[in-house]
């Protein structure tokens, strides 16, 4: 497992966290959009899997440590119904359907994304620092 493998794996982790941030931002931005005739914004979520099938030694040789199979899927959630009879999108009973986005859980997810991204940067920086240290072998400074 050479240095570039660590770089690639960390870069893949960072890309995944970026995607999760994009999705969380989209969810937050569309939290207050109402559905017209039952068709509205569905909250999105990122689903990622690690290729766990290979044995560990094979992981180290092939750059298979990165998260693969990353998809953005619509979560099958029930819309939030709010009673607003005067709203143009209200149904016959006076309810307006909003996407089921909880601002609290989205904020927690944002914190989690930020920390995970930071952790990836830390791992990459450590790998780089180790390489720099290795290059210092033999120098008298």
């Amino acid at each position: 497992m050479d240095l570039t493998t660590v770089f690639e794996v960390s870069a893949a982790g960072m890309s995944l966290q970026r995607l999760r941030l994009d999705v969380a931002a989209a969810n937050l931005a569309n939290a207050q959009t109402s559905a017209v005739d039952g068709v509205g914004y569905q909250p999105l979520q990122v689903v990622a899997h690690a290729p766990l099938t290979a044995p560990f030694a094979q992981w180290l040789s092939a750059a298979q440590l990165r998260p693969a199979d990353v998809r953005v899927v619509e979560s099958a959630s029930v819309p939030r119904l709010v009673y607003e009879p005067g709203h143009p999108d209200a149904d016959a009973r006076g309810y307006v359907a909003y996407p089921d986005v909880s601002p609290v859980s989205e904020m927690v997810r944002l914190m989690e994304i930020s920390r995970a991204y930071e952790a990836n940067v830390r791992a990459l920086n450590l790998a780089k620092a180790m390489a720099v240290r290795a290059l210092e072998i033999g120098t008298e400074r």
């Binding site: 570039t4 770089f7 870069a11 890309s15 290059l135």
Partner: protein
């Protein structure tokens, strides 16, 4: 455009390496060894330069003109290029050290 500083920095990073081959060729007796080292250094420098140009420089250029390229990928490519350059620099330092030891040898 705002791309220039990077190419300039890459170009300025290289010249300090060049004074070495003349010093080596200036040695009277063994031209094959001197030419070999100069050639090796030249090829390594070209390779590192190509790496910088291909990955890092290209990434910065694309970022500067607003193409959708991930920021961390650009930074990682820059770091990788820097590490490669550092490696060639260290090898050059060690070879130069050995060469200077030889020139200081009492006969």
């Amino acid at each position: 455009m705002s791309i220039d500083p990077v190419t300039l920095a890459a170009a300025q990073a290289l010249p300090p390496m060049n004074p070495l081959p003349p010093a080596n060729i200036g040695e009277a007796n063994p031209p094959p060894a001197g030419a070999g080292f100069a050639g090796w250094l030249d090829s390594q420098l070209r390779q590192v330069n190509a790496e910088i140009t291909a990955a890092a420089d290209d990434g910065v250029r694309r970022l500067a003109i607003g193409e959708p390229v991930s920021l961390h990928q650009v930074m990682i490519n820059l770091e990788r290029a820097r590490l490669h350059f550092e490696l060639v620099l260290q090898v050059r330092n060690k070879l130069l050290e050995a060469y200077q030891d030889l020139t200081r040898m009492q006969i």
